[in-house]
Point group: C2
Chain length 424, copies 2
């Protein structure tokens, strides 16, 4: 090589173009290995990373639309050739030999599956897995997709897979200053992802450019829909959901910045009033997770008597059937009412991605601005367009109608066309 | 041994009692092995059965409420020590080394996981896997849980796990003359079960006695609810759903027999009129499956270009977003209306389990009387109380309110207290 390769500073699309132009995927792999050696000691994003395995994989990639693009995979998603430990003692070293459906699809597209990204235990607890925020090692990268967001933010991989049941993809994207996407529920199969809530579990995506999310939308076959060429004239409702008081000054500043840019680009921006039926929706999210988690973790609690109280308490005392029926009914009703709002002329929603910047310590942060949209099963993209005076990222969420994932991605791309530079 | 053991003729509860009284689980295993040698050549229920593996397992069972009870596991549910082939070429011999959550829970309870039961490809197609109906080898056992139902009907195992997305548990139970249960959606975790439809996929149960379903309800931690001591005074609505014309004379005779016994036991039986909102609900079931199947099988179609047209067509041309939103909305609405019916004094529904007896040939039969209840996510038990003059079974379904699985099981037990004898 005549000059040092710096794929880590580029986007997935740039990697695809380089490989198409003749750069061997091995060069991408070597660049990633060098970047990992440089930043991983401080970031600690990976639960499993093996340079030799990566080289072997780079040497045998099929042709496809993501050929040579590095992707970190959250360690609750099965990978046939790497352990999947879920950050839980029972699964240390477990390597089932099959891929999660989303990983399988990426492999068929030629992606370079780079390693397993750290997660909270079973993507469920609120205790961080030891990954630090690339912007400030004293702060959490958020969770549960801690390693996925940090890997992309630090430029170790171009893309990453996460999951979201409450705010586990969008909130880390906000804290780490990268694009993050929670697609429409079930737009990407969740097979081979550890279950928590069948109603809310969603495979999530990370990238440093909105246009890279379009690449992924193609690979995963997201629905076609009208996508705008411009934000001019789009009707965009501002919503703090049912908890306007939760946003701190930084979160509000990010929202005001986002609304200002939208206005400057010609969008019609207004305060969105949610129907009264949404009152208490966060409690319904809690009930759905507690019910579904009690089923999901029953086998783990039975097989692992010393599993933490988070899990054993959930299995021992789920919400009642009456509470569950009411929670599902509210969720179902509100999903329909949200469809009606979009049907009635609303194009997109702008909402906070987090209550503020990444907190210090090992907690994974507050999901209050994410959980409702997860329960609504609508597509959400975190746009990392704002930084505080101290340089810390705070994102905003663009939210669309069910199955209009491509519309949300395009709007994010129009709102912030430039890629985020890797940190460090 | 002084006398021949015949556990295969008994129930799970009898096996539990025998083991508790000192019978070694190995004796149960040897009895099963002998029974398999006797009937499996004709029935062909198992995709994988290894007598030596079974003996080794019987020798090392943990104590638990199902200690020594034989359970066949549908071959779309992962098993750590046996292959899981999904009846699909890509997975021939695949053995991921982890258990589906439901299998894991049964193992912790001491169950003897007996073998892998044959299924249609990915529990999705309508082409039978070569299993025959124990009542008539020229007829289908139904599907997709073909081997599970046949194993229990033929007395090879006391219990079996199936799955249901349309009618894949209840219809084979009807055709094979055994108790079958589709619990409330997500009452049993579907982790480690091949995905087709996240909204409809449900782990199913087979037994030859209703009281054995109570054992399983305990192990899986089904909700507590009011359970009746008698059927007297219960209000039971008869429903042929939206397709009254689909039931043939045998199916109607089974329904009349069931209604007659309910009346004789003091129940109040009446024709249930479903709200108009249910019109077209079977089409919504079709749309939900086609949409969710397009996500679920994307990776398989990409990785296996010669996978059948059933799968490649589903991935290539899913229903539109508009159709999908309408289908989900109807399902959500009807689920609430059904709750209202139960809230308003309806105790249970009696419905056909199938359009008639098991058809001849390799097709798996018509799910028209199962799909709606699957989409409604309510608990359903097939009660195998009726046989035609030719001796072929036709079941009826008892259906209850979400989370009231134990009420439905108890009602089935009161309607048909006796166990079914193994066939052959």
């Amino acid at each position: 090589m005549d000059k040092p390769l710096t794929f880590h500073a580029g986007t997935a699309r740039q990697m695809v173009e380089a490989v198409a132009a003749g750069t061997p995927p091995m060069a991408v792999a070597e660049d990633m290995i060098a970047r990992v050696q440089q930043v991983e000691p401080a970031v600690n994003a990976f639960a499993f990373f093996d340079a030799d395995r990566l080289r072997a994989e780079a040497d045998a990639l099929p042709d496809g639309p993501l050929k040579g693009v590095t992707v970190a995979v959250k360690d609750v998603l099965l990978t046939r050739d790497m352990p999947t430990a879920h950050n839980s003692a029972r699964y240390a070293g477990s390597q089932p030999g099959i891929d999660a459906a989303c990983v399988d699809t990426l492999r068929s597209a030629g992606a370079l599956i780079a390693g397993k990204a750290r997660t909270t235990e079973f993507a469920s607890t609120t205790v961080g897995p030891g990954t630090t925020n690339p912007h400030d090692a004293a702060r959490t990268p958020g969770g549960s997709s801690s390693g996925s967001a940090a890997s992309v933010a630090a430029g170790m991989t171009a893309l990453a897979l996460g999951t979201q049941t409450g705010g586990s993809t969008i909130r880390p994207a906000s804290f780490c200053g990268v694009f993050g996407m929670k697609p429409t529920w079930n737009a990407i199969s969740r097979e081979g992802s550890k279950m928590y809530s069948a109603t809310c579990d969603t495979v999530g995506l990370y990238a440093r450019a909105a246009s890279d999310l379009e690449l992924l939308a193609d690979v995963f076959g997201f629905d076609g829909c009208d996508v705008p060429d411009s934000l001019a004239g789009l009707r965009i409702g501002i919503s703090y959901g049912t908890t306007p008081e939760a946003a701190d000054a930084d979160s509000r500043a990010a929202m005001e910045n986002g609304a200002g840019v939208l206005l400057a680009l010609g969008a019609e921006v207004f305060d969105l009033t949610l129907p009264e039926a949404f009152d208490g929706i966060l409690e319904s999210h809690r009930v759905v997770l507690a019910r579904e988690g009690a089923s999901a973790f029953l086998n783990e609690v039975r097989a692992t008597p010393d599993l933490g109280a988070f899990f054993s308490d959930m299995v021992a005392a789920p919400p009642t059937a009456i509470e569950a029926r009411a929670a599902y009914r509210q969720a179902d009703l509100c999903r329909g009412l949200l469809d009606d709002l979009f049907e009635g002329g609303l194009d997109l929603i702008l909402a906070p991605s987090a209550t503020g910047v990444a907190p210090e310590g090992i907690g994974t942060g507050d999901p209050t601005y994410n959980s409702m949209w997860t329960l609504m099963q609508v597509p959400v993209v975190n746009v990392p367009m704002y930084r505080t005076a101290a340089g810390l990222p705070v994102g905003v969420s663009l939210i669309g109608r069910r199955y209009e994932d491509r519309r949300v991605i395009r709007a994010a791309s129009l709102l912030m066309p430039e890629a985020v530079a890797p940190v460090g």
